[in-house]
């Protein structure tokens, strides 16, 4: 066996450039596959994390009639005494934190420019605001008793040419179906990493948002984060109340989960296409080797080499080619993913309704993908090379010996 491998290695050396190119084809394919898997994984991972962290949380407690798409602040759709409800939810063991949030539709206007926004009233002291607090590009976070301070997203600030201390006018749909307006001063400008999300959101202290919109001591949702999101169902069951409904992150992000599943299927199809093309290159190389070495196969056969030994010889060549390609591809794919995983790939504003997509995608290579793709690439190459190997083994010695050298 060892000698067959030695022979196989030397056979590959006969046409170094051709062998190298074949291995390179596999290397390029594998590195692209790894990078692609890392890219999608990074994208879906950050999208899911951002959506949970910024928008949906792991759980939301709402009034049974509340429609999150309408952001209505009519009293019948809101939770009364939200801080008390949040406190009860936060007392559950698996809950990391629970905080009330009030959503209202509004329009920001400065001079002749205006933009539709969602007003989010938050408890400034809550840990849930860490993403906005840590994402402050300039200025400071709003305080609970701030009566005219507002936080705005960086893209909104840019488009309306607002800076810290700038004044803006905010229009809000009130709980009575009227419109109210007030001037606010920009206290801080935040960036969560997703331009689409940031350009349509302004933050007010919860008390101010309640007073401004006429919601009173009410909130749209209780935003809940858990220590482990897999416990969402059990925690949801534990939260009882006839007037409330509890939605888990899976229920709230059906589109995201669907896109995630779809991207997995999409990657699998792409993998098959790329591997298929690559394997064709390798099979072609092996077939050329078989046809070029027909006489040699005849000689080996004349010496008494059996069909399965000839198959082993050619499969050893394929395995060595595959090994070379896989090792180089693995290193290149890892290096690509690691580099772009640290600097990110800028895509800018890629807003899709129902998903938060960061402006910069950071590929994330999972060990599972590395193992799956590497082993698949190797095995598929060997399986595909069986055809040329078998072709060689079935040659009649006398016919093979007659072949042109």
């Amino acid at each position: 066996m060892l000698n067959l491998i030695k022979m196989a290695f030397r056979n590959l050396g006969r046409h170094r450039r051709r062998s190298a190119l074949s291995a390179l084809a596999l290397a390029v394919a594998l590195s692209l596959l790894l990078f692609m898997a890392a890219f999608f994984k990074g994208e879906m991972r950050s999208s899911m994390e951002d959506t949970l962290r910024l928008s949906s949380g792991h759980l939301q407690v709402r009034d049974v009639d509340y429609d999150p798409d309408k952001s209505s602040v009519a009293w019948q759709y809101l939770i009364e005494n939200p801080s008390q409800v949040a406190g009860q939810v936060a007392a559950l063991g698996p809950v990391k934190f629970a905080t009330p949030r009030l959503f209202a539709s509004g329009i920001v206007s400065v001079s002749n420019d205006s933009a539709g926004v969602q007003i989010m009233g938050v408890d400034p002291a809550s840990e849930a605001n860490a993403s906005y607090r840590d994402g402050l590009v300039s200025g400071e976070f709003i305080s609970a008793d701030d009566r005219n301070g507002i936080l705005i997203g960086y893209p909104l600030a840019e488009s309306l040419q607002l800076g810290i201390g700038s004044q803006l006018n905010l229009l809000v749909n009130t709980s009575e179906g009227q419109v109210d307006e007030q001037n606010f001063i920009v206290r801080g400008i935040f960036s969560t990493g997703s331009s689409t999300y940031d350009k349509g959101l302004v933050l007010l202290p919860l008390a101010k948002a309640q007073a401004f919109s006429g919601a009173g001591n009410r909130a749209s949702i209780i935003f809940v984060m858990l220590h482990d999101r897999e416990q969402a169902d059990s925690v949801a069951t534990a939260i009882t109340g006839a007037d409330y409904k509890v939605e888990t992150w899976l229920e709230m992000n059906e589109l995201l989960v669907l896109v995630n599943d779809f991207s997995n299927a999409y990657i699998m199809i792409l993998n098959l296409i790329i591997l298929g093309v690559t394997v064709t290159v390798i099979v072609n190389t092996m077939l050329m080797a078989v046809f070029e070495r027909t006489r040699e196969i005849g000689i080996l056969s004349a010496l008494g080499m059996k069909g399965r030994q000839i198959i082993t010889l050619f499969l050893s060549e394929a395995a060595l080619l595959a090994l070379g390609g896989v090792v180089v591809g693995l290193l290149a794919g890892w290096a690509l993913s690691a580099y772009f995983g640290s600097v990110g790939i800028y895509f800018g504003d890629m807003g899709i309704s129902g998903m938060i997509i960061a402006d910069r995608v950071y590929p994330y290579l999972m060990l599972e993908d590395v193992i799956n793709l590497t082993v698949t690439a190797f095995i598929v190459t060997i399986i595909a090379s069986y055809y040329p190997a078998r072709l060689a083994s079935r040659m009649e010695p006398v016919e093979a010996l007659r072949a042109e050298k």
Binding site: G13, R295, E296, A302, L303, G304, K306, G307, L401, K405
Partner: protein, 230 residues
Amino acid sequence: MEVAKVENVSRVYKIGEVETYALRGVNLTILDGEFTALVGPSGSGKTTLLQLIGCLDQPTGGSVWVNGNDVTRLNRNQRADIRKGHIGFIFQFFALIPTLTAYENVEMPLLLNGHSAKDRHERVMELLEAVDLLDRAKNRPDQMSGGQQQRVAIARALAPKPALILADEPTANLDSANGEQVMEIMTRINKETGVTFVFATHDPRVIKYARRVVTLRDGGIVENGAGQAK
């Protein structure tokens, strides 16, 4: 003792609707230790007869016996076993494996026969010495002359200690001096070890070395010199 025997063997090649007889009802017995030349013009059936005796091809009719086995009844793998253990080949075009050194080429049949590393080394060195190529052990075929390559091929054919060595025009691609040298080596080995040689040729300078001459024409034996056992 019979090393090989062909009985009423015919070989027909069919190309389209046309049937060509390479051999017609040939009978031949090769005895242990013979040094036999198959002679005849091109197309007379010499190579076909060697291929049938060498289990490289199957006859259309008749039977071929090697070392007491009717090889026409054997499958591919069994015929490969017969070739591996009982028959050595020397081809006109040397037929060395280009990626292997002289040493490794000679070692190949021993590897296929499952000899130990120590046995292989001893046997290969002994054979390279016998064909006067010890200094070329590490050379690959493209680093050797035609004569040297053919001597490596002789050493390789002898490696598994076969009962029979078949040589198809072994000197056809060599100049006179190298051709003579190859024939002298074959003759010497035949005398020293008693291994049976059957070679096809139409070169009168080669025929003179034979102790038995079998003449073929148009697929049949026209003159069958008596076999000489050792």
